[in-house]
Symmetry: C3
Subunit: 436 residues, 3 copies
């Protein structure tokens, strides 16, 4: 994730610029919360819309406070291979939040670095929200969210960007590469989403008795697509901001990002149009998101043409992944497991695959980015994928199972049929005169 | 409001960066207009939604033009204790809009400084819109908006950030502190909103004959919560931008802002859940906003932990304030008086309270920020609150009363029952095939 | 379009800042896609809302990929008067995307400059979408979009900002001026929209047998006005970003932009209120957009007061233009031809008109901006308008006619009456429980 500030003159102006830029990028990432909420709300039913917005608002609230309490310390303090043990920085205690470069990451202060990392943490937990929509108990979801942002996600960050277990794997010259987090963020969210969706079970009516999946149409296409636009915008903070500096590489990363998104959208459009005879807008939106998830890892090391290929493959994978999960009766109302989990794996692996064939793939060696390439690189990326799946899978299975056994994961059948909004939140999302 | 540009080398690059950053922050503040419109629309009824968007669009139009015509000159020209008398700058006449540092505020040009201040002015007037929703005459609202942005708000700014009456109060070492305007902006809006809501009277059906308040549910929860997300995003311009420079303190201010918002949301969630048995999403949204309003004043001087406390107390106050105004039969459909007025007071006073106990509270002495602390500080903050209440209360009472006596403040009973959209604007917000 | 970086010290920090700023401006322009989608959706009927979002999402996808494939090379490669012939840069082939100043435009790298120009291209094509809404075949629209972004629009850019045909016209001292593209972008989109709307024909029911136009109300006013706010925000990237550098002039351009928008909104409000007795919110939104389109060309050379005049005249023109197109039976559901085409012409001409009378109109001579003024300037601006009308008119007529003769431009009568969403995309925009 860290980059190279090219400019050397005027060090303080450069340092301030680094911090201001990464903060602005963080604002764009923060705004993704609204995008996630709109996509999820748009693709589900009106009777659950209050619950969906409540969960997404809670993700932001919990994500930030939990990451402040323990997440930041566990992720970035010096410590062992799995988490920081420097408890002194829980609650950012005794940290100077303002000193330029104080975080130890290029010129970033703790204030800047925390802000940027905390909005990433909020993103990771939000991914689960969509996959478990329309039948999960609010209180259980909240408790999982706290554990996710306080422990599960920070451990993944510590293992990678924090210099821990995964960062220490090397095969030949190859070390892991995941620039902005196809694996660290999206796959982490996607794996937890899969475990959650599996344990909470499918929505009533999603699968016929013989297992045939039925489409449950969302209630508001405009919400879903505005949400996709907001997420696409937010990704211009997510990926270029992960350079963690204002330098000449930032906008090349942005270029890769916008191309992969468009390519993902185009590939899905063509595939779904050929397959079903119609350009399905919900799939197209997910194709754009798949392009974005795919390029999140390679965006700092890919060429523009490679970014188009990586994004397009992401857009194809997401279609088959959605059909696959339907087939194995995992009910994911918004396709979050496919978009973030499966395509997240693709993003991580693509670095290994394309590093082999493309000489223009940059070998940036000053920041833990790839310099080996070839088969060794692919092998390291595989180990990264496995490690994250094992850790997040086991940890989220433990938490969700404990919740299922105690508070329960799922609302009552009556609540599910009538919608979660009135029983869980005491109000409907729309009142009767909404169209009057 | 002004800050300290830490960097000294490369003065012109720094100066340009200061201007670009404050402009970007201003763009985020501008976008808050959409957030206010969505929150207000979401929490009211569909039959008035056109009127609500018309008012909010008018706020932006009027706010900018009125602040250009007279507001900027009254607020920031040299003059007496209450307003600038340097009439030469009405309509920014004869000002060089481009010269770096030309505004006299650090490195900001008049172009930059006006942009940032004008979007603040638009915010101040928008606050009234919500409290007077669903029964106020459009034309009367517009006239009030003009006076607010042309005179009432600029006088408050002149008394404080402009170096006038309030800025000249000192008790011992203590002078007023209100970094980004818990008092200057939000309390000003909130006091005018209270006067307006009082004079226009409650909506039909809000209070039973015996005075019992009835809930009138809003028509679109997604609008309201997307609005809260947009406002939260906008606050990352509002507060950190108020540093008025790109320096190392900007992101610490952002950190305080995001923590207080989350803490406000959490405190409201817990309180309302315990009180009513349900996590009411409208209250939670207002809790986030309360956290943001509360930290607006102290964000430049608080520590992160103090920011959490200040935000959480704001989130608690807002619940009781909403119940209080229901009790005294002030009908505020969106809770604007509570969020901006009451919590705005809390934000101003919190500076005095916490300065006393927290040594880590920064003493920044170069910009009228607090350096005294303790009881004297609290006393100065009290005087600030009183001054704003008296000025804004009297001035807005005069304007609203004059409007009531002439054009009338309120639509006819028939228009109110049928909704303001057709009689006031000639169209419905939604057509019959909205869900077809 | 190019500007003057004032700062000279610390060249690399300045260069990085230039790139970061223009990229951030490009992000705001990108977000305009969501604004266009919301305005168009809000002002049309619910039965076509999926189609509208699909077109706008496709515009972004196609715009970026087509501009990457050929548009960027045609627009900015050295070549003849009409397009770049340096085929080596198709697909940005062999370009170093990261080198500061590598694009040859001030300090911008190819990565930055492409990003900013590609989101402009996406804007140009989106304008057509609104004018042809509710009856155009999806596949035909897509094909036109590809040609527009791959060829038609890039040729306009090459003729102007690329230093081609229009840039080489001079009368006396006067050369063309169109800072951010009232002509290059908006008029181009508007002319294509006019041709498209003419060839596809009016919607069923828009004109009575005797030719009397009937209002077909949009289905969602909140969408339309939130869209206007997003577009207004995006214009703070569109215009100030067109300085293509971070310098002291950026925020003066922003000041001109915000004033013209407000003035356009105010002028439309007054005019429509006087004319019809009601402040029609759809017209007011278009008035704001008209102010923005009008100032897009002059924003780099106008004074603030002139910006208000230019914006206000734009807001008046748009009302009469909408009525005019109704009269000649061109059906433009959202007013795009009036807002972008007619007011775009006004923006270009205003530079000639006001240059004559206003000495404060800046004479910036280092970047092809106006320095002649007076009648000669007006004449050059006229020639620019004519050239764009001829090229875009002929080219888009050819493409749309070919599509009409082959695939067909228009959906079947049955599909139009029932709405395009189910037959074209296989899903409705809203499901039955949308308000339940």
């Amino acid at each position: 994730m860290p980059g190279t500030a090219l400019a050397q003159e005027a060090p303080e102006v450069q340092a301030v610029l680094d911090n201001i830029w990464v903060f602005i990028a963080g604002c764009l990432v923060f705004f993704m919360q609204a995008g996630f909420a709109l996509v999820e709300a748009g693709l589900t039913r009106a009777k659950n819309v209050v619950n969906i917005f409540a969960k997404n608002m809670a993700d932001a609230i919990i994500g930030i406070l939990a990451f402040f309490a323990t997440g930041y310390a566990l992720a970035f303090s010096s410590g062992n291979d799995f988490f920081g043990t420097d408890g002194g920085s829980f609650f950012m205690n005794d940290l100077d939040i303002n000193a330029l470069g104080g975080s130890g990451v290029i010129n970033l202060s703790h204030g800047t670095f925390f802000f940027f990392q905390a909005v990433f943490a909020a993103t990771a937990v939000t991914i689960c929200s969509g996959a478990m929509a329309e039948r999960t108990k609010f209180v259980s979801y909240l408790i999982f969210g706290v554990v996710m942002c306080a422990v599960i996600y920070p451990v993944v960050v510590h293992m990678t960007w924090g210099g821990g277990f995964i960062a220490n794997i090397s095969i030949g010259d190859a070390v892991y590469s995941d620039f902005a987090g196809s694996g660290v963020v999206h796959m982490t969210g996607g794996v937890a989403a899969l475990v959650g969706a599996f344990l909470v079970g499918p929505r009533k009516g999603k699968f016929a008795e013989d297992g045939t999946p039925r489409a449950i149409p969302g209630h508001n296409v405009p919400f879903a697509i505005v949400g996709v636009f907001i997420l696409w915008l937010g990704w211009f903070g997510f990926n270029p901001g992960s350079e963690l500096a204002a330098d000449n590489l930032v906008t090349g990363i942005a270029l890769n990002t916008i191309l992969a998104a468009a390519a993902g959208g185009l590939a899905t459009t063509v595939l779904i149009w050929v397959k079903t005879g119609k350009p399905d807008i919900a799939f197209i939106g997910n194709g754009v998101l798949a392009g974005l998830v795919a390029i999140t890892g390679p965006c700092g090391t890919a060429t523009p043409i490679m970014s188009i290929v990586i994004g397009a493959v992401g857009g194809i994978i997401v279609v088959f992944a959605v059909l696959f999960f339907d087939k194995i009766k995992i009910d994911d109302p918004v396709g979050a497991i496919s978009v973030h989990g499966v395509v997240g794996i693709w993003g991580v692996l693509s670095i290994g695959i394309f590093a082999k064939y493309d000489d223009a793939f940059l070998g940036r060696d000053d920041a833990g980015l790839i310099y080996g390439g070839g088969f060794e690189q692919l092998a390291v990326q595989f180990l990264m994928v496995l490690t994250i799946i094992v850790w997040v899978g086991v940890a989220s299975f433990a938490v969700f199972s404990a919740l299922k056994a105690t508070l329960g994961l799922r609302v009552s059948e009556e609540e599910e049929i009538g919608g979660l909004d009135i029983p869980e939140h005491g109000m409907a999302g729309y009142t009767a005169d909404a169209t009057a």
